[in-house]
Symmetry: C2
Subunit: 434 residues, 2 copies
């Protein structure tokens, strides 16, 4: 009887415990699908005292180094998260000949290159579907299904926490702070929500997606990142008026001269765009490819079970390869495309600000835009007779631009902010989907 494939699990949190459960409870099914039995030989945790119901206590260890240094592991599933000690452990596991399944976006977005090269050199697999968009198969489609095509753009909602919060701000007409509090109460946001609400989580995912889409390596640090903490009910209302919904988007695309734009920021998304209707904690990724045209992938972006589904899909694939002494050959980071600075990215913008009520003001405002080559698509002027304090700037201008360079728009904002006819805050939000 063929001996089983030995699997080690690093991390037994929400996702890890579900993966451990599946490995044990579905062992027969998995064996049928793989052609070999999987044997869970160790579960590495940080804190031995935490109760781990459903996991055989004999498997649990806090000696993760020792676990990955076993010479007999076929698959190591890394679900610790964070850059270190995860990366060191993964490299050690690869060195010892194990194939890797991970969900660790921070680690991958920091240095996918050296992990990939280590795996290729050793002839083992490195799979990471669970690192981006939970249960939604997106890594494999980018890495394998669309690899005969040319991707033009990837645009997605990849953070469920912020999508839930923005959704709440619309449906309940509450402030960001109130919506965040509710998200935390319901478990959609962490006690320390910084990584989600500041966009860092989405930025790590954007880096991974961009690297795969454009066949190069993109690191988190290269991703322009703006979170949702400054989104106000006034923005939500302005978006609604313009037939849009505000979403935190991760965007990756190419400039005309083949450099990469990769960015995370809130945007008003036209309601006719499929991404506008992605609600609650769902994720969705929209891909535009030369031959395939427009594709969309939608599903649950986080959670123990959905993420475990993605992990297990990778585990079965990797195990099937191990059972036959092979590995997939997926590395394709062959271009030397550079990441362009955000100033060279183009977008449509919605700009709104209060102005004094004097003749000629509209002309002055329009001139500011014109001076920096920013052309206008929609202009709305309204008057503050609704009781809000005006401080001498009772008229409100809302402007949607045509596609314009970020750099040009920055200059416009700078001038407007210094103009004496403009009230305190010039609000800016990018627009997508028109």
């Amino acid at each position: 009887m063929t001996k089983p494939l030995k699997v080690a699990l690093l991390g037994a949190g929400v996702v890890g415990s579900q993966v451990a459960r599946i490995l044990v409870q579905e062992s027969d099914t998995l064996e049928s699908r793989i052609g070999r039995r999987l044997e869970l030989v160790g579960v590495g945790v940080r804190n031995l005292d935490t109760p781990r119901p459903g996991i055989d206590p004999a498997l649990i260890t806090d000696d993760l180094e020792g676990l990955v240094n076993r010479g007999d592991l076929d698959v190591v599933i890394e679900l610790i998260g964070g850059i270190e000690p995860a990366r060191g452990l993964v490299l050690k596991a690869i060195e010892n000949g194990a194939s890797i399944v991970t969900a660790n976006k921070a680690m991958l977005a920091d240095d996918l290159g050296s992990l990939s090269r280590a795996a290729v050199d050793k002839g083992v697999d490195l799979y990471y579907e669970a690192a981006v968009a939970g249960a939604i198969p997106i890594i494999r489609p980018l890495r394998e299904s669309l690899v005969g095509d040319e991707i033009a753009e990837v645009m997605g909602i990849v953070n469920g926490t912020t999508n839930f919060i923005l959704d709440k701000m619309v449906t309940d007409e509450v402030s960001f702070e109130e919506a965040l509090r509710e998200a935390q109460e319901l478990g959609y946001a962490e006690a320390d929500p910084t990584a989600d609400i500041e966009g860092h989580d989405a930025a790590a995912k954007a880096a991974i997606l961009a690297g795969l889409a454009f066949h190069t390596e993109v690191r988190s640090a290269e991703v322009f990142c703006e979170g949702i903490t400054d989104v106000t009910p006034a923005d939500i209302a302005a978006a609604e008026q313009m037939g849009c919904t505000i979403k935190l988007l991760a965007i990756a695309k190419l400039t005309d001269d083949d450099r990469i734009i990769v960015k995370v920021h809130p945007a008003m998304v036209a309601n006719k765009h499929p991404l506008a209707s992605v609600s609650g904690a769902y994720n969705a990724i929209f891909v535009n490819s030369r031959e395939a045209g427009e594709l969309m992938f939608l599903g649950q972006g986080a959670g123990g079970n959905p993420t475990a589904s993605a992990v297990m899909g990778d585990v079965v694939t990797v195990a099937r390869n191990r059972a036959r002494g092979t590995a997939s050959h997926l590395s394709s980071g062959y271009t030397r495309r550079a990441v362009a600075p955000i100033g060279e990215s183009s977008a449509q913008f919605y700009v709104s600000f209060d102005v004094v009520d004097r003749p000629g003001i509209l002309a002055k405002c329009a001139a500011v835009f014109g001076r920096h080559n920013v052309s206008l698509r929609v202009v709305q002027q309204s008057y503050a007779d609704d009781g809000r304090p005006s401080d001498g700037f009772p008229a409100r201008l809302g402007v949607m631009t045509h596609l314009t360079l970020e750099g040009s728009l920055s200059k416009v904002i700078e001038e407007l902010n210094e103009a004496d006819f403009v009230g305190s805050t010039v609000r800016v939000m990018r627009v997508e989907g028109f």
Copy 2:
């Protein structure tokens, strides 16, 4: 310098010619992604006289048998379509050691089992993303990404011709015949549209999806199949009134006793369901899986470029394996699940019929349903004062049932059709998404 991988193409129609174009024009890019150069060594066609712009005439041959009998092919791309001679040629190619990429749903839905076994025995790859839903990656997600999960249901719009026609019937308020004519004029329907409008195309795709989802083999002949030729403007209007949109659905799910329901039929889809908003020639597939939850995949289901994208994704994957002397190991048809007869499938139904205007008729109608254990969710009675001929049956009853066995519903329809208080045609349509 490593010698190139030899590729033969069978078929140079809309998809084949695009694939040939890509193989030649993108040869450098493909080499970077595969690690080896691809050399197109032959293009097999049926008719040598048809002009093939963009394909080197020296490659073109009508001796397809001779082409696949070359002993030196690495990859054979089969884009002829139809069961024979495609299957014979594919088996011959496998016998001669070539890996296969195909888009041939009819061939796969007829006998995937023997093709899979032949490929496994020979140690070559068999990939077929392009066989279902054009550019949308769905075969790989089912075969590889969700293979660690348990799929409960697959439901999709997989035929662009019928989706376009049904869409037209709604937006232009025209008959089926008129919408079909327009589809043909615009190239969305063939001169002989039978395979599409009768649901056979969707049924072949349903068979493939069901087999992958439930780890067994399902053949076209086992798929219950009802097309859209009987859909009327009255049905469209009734659907709209009930907050639904009529779609031709391919559905695969399990009964409580682990048998497979696989069927194609028109259905009223609740507008809140994501599938209801899939318009024109787009395809979308909705998957419900135990761990992953609900997933949706959306994109262009047909056309030269989208289908070529799917073919090329498979070509690169297969070529990467060939370059390293390996093959993927994806076969997983290990269950012996049977396909259950349609009578044992459950669905919600919308039933409408004209009745005489006499006291007690509603009670009689309700009794028919009750006698066969079909419980009612919504009942609407209307009166024909709108000028339409009533022939003594001026009242119209529209009924939406709760989930009920097809077998039970059939008995209800039989009784209603024989009842003297019911007018000529009892119309029935299944309902999804409530």
